[in-house]
Symmetry: C2
Subunit: 145 residues, 2 copies
DNA sequence: TTACAAAGTCAATCGCATTGACCTACATTC
DNA sequence: GAATGTAGGTCAATGCGATTGACTTTGTAA
């Protein structure tokens, strides 16, 4: 990092990443708050919504948290009738998770806000820039850090 | 969001943002941990490093936290001789913050890891994709959410 | 039958933030 | 010069999301 101009460009890029993350979660967080829920509940709703019928253990692996961390929020979502669990026919120990109709509605509301936000940004940036954005972001997944 | 294919693309984009944020902080966090420091300390070092001589109140505004939240980490950084504060000549109430030589070294280590990470990704993606990425990300700053 | 695996729960602790209250030092205004 | 206001610092209580550790129940598999 000899070039001070390049260094400034990379600093700006860093701030763009942090700002992007923050602005994508701000709106859903406000909606969650009105229902007494937090970010973790959205994450659960999102992944259960994308993977209906997944087990608790699979969800833990996706979220990368301990079962103790998941316990309270998941129980709360079940008490609120947003998530439903039933024993697996294949393995009676495993509980398979799915969203209830209310859970589907809330998940669509929360994630919909985020998708519309991204859609708005992509449409302003243009499809060529979107392709470059996507191509760049995909390299993150290939870089262990 | 009628088009299921577009919806899946936007979901993928959402996950890319979250993953990018996580992977950019993972390495610095490991370095911080070896010194008994956390994310908040890096944020302070970064902004003091970019804006030497800024006041505590200005730093609070940039970070968007309360003075109580900043108090402990800032004191710790001063005790570790990474940040230095001195009364403003213009206004004796205000404390102006700057990094010490050790603070500059640690800040360059932490942020350097992140810049090299981004640089690696940009060089793999290519400069056209980088331009599209940047152009897209800049729209986040213009969108109130 | 014995051993292992999936899930759930209780307790203690930590990190990072909040609000509220209060203090000192210094500046500004009247 | 006195009163008021501002910058900063600190203590206490609290919330939330996470951790590790220990233990139980239920069901599967060797």
């Amino acid at each position: 990092m000899q070039d001070p101009h390049r260094e400034a460009e990379l600093n700006a890029a860093l701030e763009l990443v942090f700002h992007g993350y923050k602005s994508l979660t701000a709106r859903p967080d406000r909606i969650l708050e009105t229902r007494g829920l937090q970010r973790v509940h959205h994450r659960v709703l999102y992944f259960v919504g994308r993977n209906p019928g997944l087990s608790v253990g699979e969800l833990l692996a996706i979220l990368g948290v301990t079962k103790q961390a998941l316990n309270a929020p998941l129980r709360q979502l079940q008490e609120m009738r947003l998530v439903d669990s039933s024993p697996s026919p294949a393995d009676g120990r495993a509980r398979l998770l799915r969203l209830t109709p209310d859970g589907i509605r809330l998940e669509r509301l929360l994630t919909g806000v985020q998708r519309r936000h991204l859609e708005r940004i992509f449409s302003k940036a243009g499809s060529a820039s979107e392709a470059g954005w996507r191509h760049t972001m995909e390299w993150f997944a290939r870089d262990p850090g």
